[in-house]
């Protein structure tokens, strides 16, 4: 009898042990699937997250990883209530992407309250690693400080010393305008004015007219996605570029270039932290990504979703648990990062991922040799200069 009982006990012990070894992880891709940022994030980000899971090979780490997807429609209330529901009822451990800074800020609060992990790729606002930083958040791809210093800095130094801003009227646009204004002023330029337009706006004519009448050399577009495309297109219609003024698209992706066409977009200066045609590794990755997104080219947001998810899963594997979001994020900060798209890097204490940034110029139709051959590399901003130094963060995590 005793033998049987102890055997049964041992068997039970073994099953629980085997059970405990499989770590279940659920990653939610919260993104814009239907609106103005969908082409720059959306389904392309979902494809990238799935590739990260495949490349990580969960089975080899005794893990099971599920991906779920939701559309936040660019509304902070929808985003935060999806996040809340995912954490409370769906056992989601981490949320990735979250384009739209307003939504990212709202979700960051929820992730912190529920002690889960948030891996931001698509949102730009630099406050995520500044005053609004959180021990549960990693900001992977880029931010407004970086865009402002790279793009605006280069333009001012090349003689574009008077600016007028067209700003998307929410957290992101104002942060980008704020950061770019600081750079323009610091480099001896001046800002002649600015006008805020609603998110997902269709008619820019009256704003463009104001920009035209300001006589500024540079019209700084502190907006993104469909808003940037429309501003540039309608600017051409109203003869702005023909009149000698130039657009500075402070946040511009390869998909936007493709949507505008090289004829209109040529000559624009922009900053990304990833270009599909950078090296053999990025080209190979792009080829696999295009199986899901035929005819499109991945941008830094989508690359960031891949790299962030991969690094997150490595950290979970090291801890053998995804339950404590802050612990996983701490582990992510402890481990150096290494992936085929951004190379080697680190995550700082404030949650900022550090890697180089690249200043590109859009090619003219004549210079482009094959589809997707859109950028000329003008300058590389080394990793230690690309992002805001931690001492200027005002992030409570760092000062404490």
């Amino acid at each position: 009898m005793r033998l049987i009982a102890s055997l049964a006990f041992a068997a039970a012990l073994m099953t629980t042990a085997a059970h405990a070894q499989t770590t279940n992880v659920k990653v939610g891709v919260l993104t814009d699937m239907s609106s103005l940022y969908a082409d720059d994030t959306g389904p392309g980000s979902v494809a990238a997250a799935k590739m990260a899971v495949a490349d990580f090979n969960p089975a080899a780490h005794n893990m099971k990883v599920d991906i779920i997807v939701a559309d936040h429609q660019n509304k902070p209330d929808i985003g935060s209530s999806i996040a809340r529901q995912w954490f409370d009822t769906q056992n989601v451990d981490a949320i990735v992407d979250v384009p739209n800074s307003a939504v990212a800020l709202a979700v960051s609060d929820v992730a912190r309250e529920k002690n889960k992990a948030l891996l931001v790729s698509g949102a730009a606002i630099s406050d995520l690693t500044g005053p609004k930083c959180s021990p549960n958040t990693v900001h992977w791809t880029y931010d407004t400080w970086m865009l402002a210093h790279a793009t605006a800095g280069a333009l001012v130094k090349n003689g574009g010393d008077s600016w007028f801003f067209l700003t998307s009227d929410y957290a992101f646009g104002h942060a980008l305008e704020r950061d770019a204004t600081a750079v323009v002023l610091a480099n001896g330029g001046k800002v002649l004015g600015s006008v805020a337009h609603p998110l997902n706006n269709q008619d820019f004519s009256s704003f463009l007219l104001q920009a035209q009448q300001s006589k500024a050399k540079i019209i700084g577009l502190a907006n993104a996605g469909g808003d940037t495309i429309n501003s540039i297109k309608q600017g051409a219609e109203f003869g702005i570029t023909a009149g000698g003024q130039h657009f500075a698209a402070l946040l511009f992706y390869i998909g936007d270039v493709e949507a505008l066409g090289l004829k209109v977009a040529q000559g624009l200066v922009l900053t990304e932290t990833f270009y599909w045609d950078m090296n053999d590794a990025t080209r190979a990755w792009t080829k696999r990504w295009q199986v899901e997104r035929p005819g499109k080219y991945p941008n830094m947001n989508q690359a960031g979703v891949y790299a962030a998810t991969l690094h997150y899963l490595k950290a979970v594997a090291a801890l053998k648990s995804a339950a404590d979001g802050k612990a996983v994020v701490d582990e992510m900060k402890k481990m150096p990062t290494d992936d085929p798209l951004f190379g080697k890097g680190i995550i700082r204490a404030d949650g900022r991922k550090i890697h180089p940034a690249y200043l590109f110029q859009v090619k003219s139709p004549a210079e482009s040799k094959y589809p997707g051959d859109d950028y000329i590399l003008k300058a590389t901003i080394p990793a230690d200069q690309a992002f805001r130094p931690m001492k200027d963060d005002n992030c409570p995590l760092v000062t404490n």
């Binding site: 209330d77 809340r84 957290a171």
Partner: protein, 322 residues
């Protein structure tokens, strides 16, 4: 003959009262059990909308005025409540009072303008006023524009009960909503409520009887706006967020849909309608934009074939008042 008729009337009256009583007991029991079975945040959301729909029903069901702009009161109350709790650091009960008072004030101003016209004009004017205030919300600092007011603290009720506990929050919402529903029920059955119904049936006749109908209409409008504001203030605390969604015209449409589905002019219809529509949005969310199509289809179906709504049909089938 007269006796039997009287007896029938009395029976019907008793039946009516007992129908309402039974329905009320069933509703309260369900709501007390609900948070242990369902996701509490979902039930709280449905409760807020139930109150919102009942407030709206006060106007459409009992005065016959269709407001297409009730999101104005719901949304602005939630902004002010959120602002009071976050920026002024007020206790939750005071934040709710401030939100509700804001809605009352807006209801007075908006109502005074809108009741100058009737029928479809009234609908268009309320819609336009709400859109104006939506555009204001988009621009002014207080509301945070597209960002909304985020991270609103729930705080401690009367300085004692911590609302960050989901069940405490639920109890607070439930008590406030039930009290407000009871108040609405009392208003409908007061002499004031009878005058409102008379105005709905025949305004000219009510005027000739010496009632200043404009004053009654304005009073009803303010009451309805105030209670909608109470619902909005509660929602801001539940979700710890106030956003443009709550002042957008789609919100005004949603509350009409809830009331229509449940049954215009019934006591429990708007509550049932709110739970149905909120549940539908919740469980059909993966369908994305099809939710909008389904809502539209329900609108069309209700108007064409189902004008009494679910509770209205049920009541006429059971021959009780619900």
């Amino acid at each position: 003959m007269a006796n039997t008729a009287d007896a029938a009337a009395i029976r019907l009256h008793r039946r009516t009262d007992s129908g309402l009583g039974i329905a009320a007991v069933v509703m309260v029991t369900c709501l007390v059990v609900a948070p242990f079975v369902l996701y509490p945040v979902f039930v709280m959301k449905a409760l807020c909308f139930a109150l919102f729909a009942c407030a709206f029903n006060l106007l459409i069901g009992y005065v016959g005025l269709v407001s297409f702009g009730h999101a104005l009161f719901f949304g602005w109350a939630s902004y002010l409540a959120a602002h009071a709790a976050k920026s002024w650091g007020l206790q939750p009960e005071l934040a709710v009072v401030i939100g509700t008072a804001t809605a009352a004030l807006l209801g007075f101003v908006g109502g005074a303008i809108a009741i100058r016209r009737q029928g479809i004009y009234f609908a268009m004017i309320t819609l336009a006023l709400a859109q104006m205030m939506y555009l204001v919300a988009l621009r002014v600092k207080l509301t945070g524009g597209e960002d909304g007011i985020q991270d609103v603290p729930r705080g401690k009720l009367f300085g004692a009960f911590d609302l960050n506990n989901e069940m405490t929050m639920y109890a607070f919402v439930l008590v406030v909503v039930l009290a407000a529903l009871f108040l609405i029920y009392r208003i409908i059955n007061s002499p004031f409520g009878e005058v409102l119904k008379a105005i709905r049936e025949n305004e000219l006749r009510s005027i000739s009887l010496g009632y200043r109908t404009d004053r009654y209409k304005l009073a009803a409008f303010v009451l309805s706006a105030t209670l909608a504001g109470l619902a909005g203030s509660l929602k801001a605390l539940v979700f710890q967020l106030a956003s443009l969604t709550d002042v957008h015209w789609t919100m005004s449409g949603e509350v009409i849909l809830m009331t229509l589905v449940g049954g215009l002019g019934t006591v429990f219809g708007p509550v049932a309608g709110a739970f149905i529509i909120v549940a539908m949005e919740n469980y059909l969310a993966p369908l994305g934009q099809w939710v909008l199509v389904i809502q539209g289809a329900i609108f069309v179906a209700c108007v064409l074939t189902f004008r009494r709504g679910i509770v209205g049909e049920l009541a006429s089938w059971l021959r009780v008042k619900l």
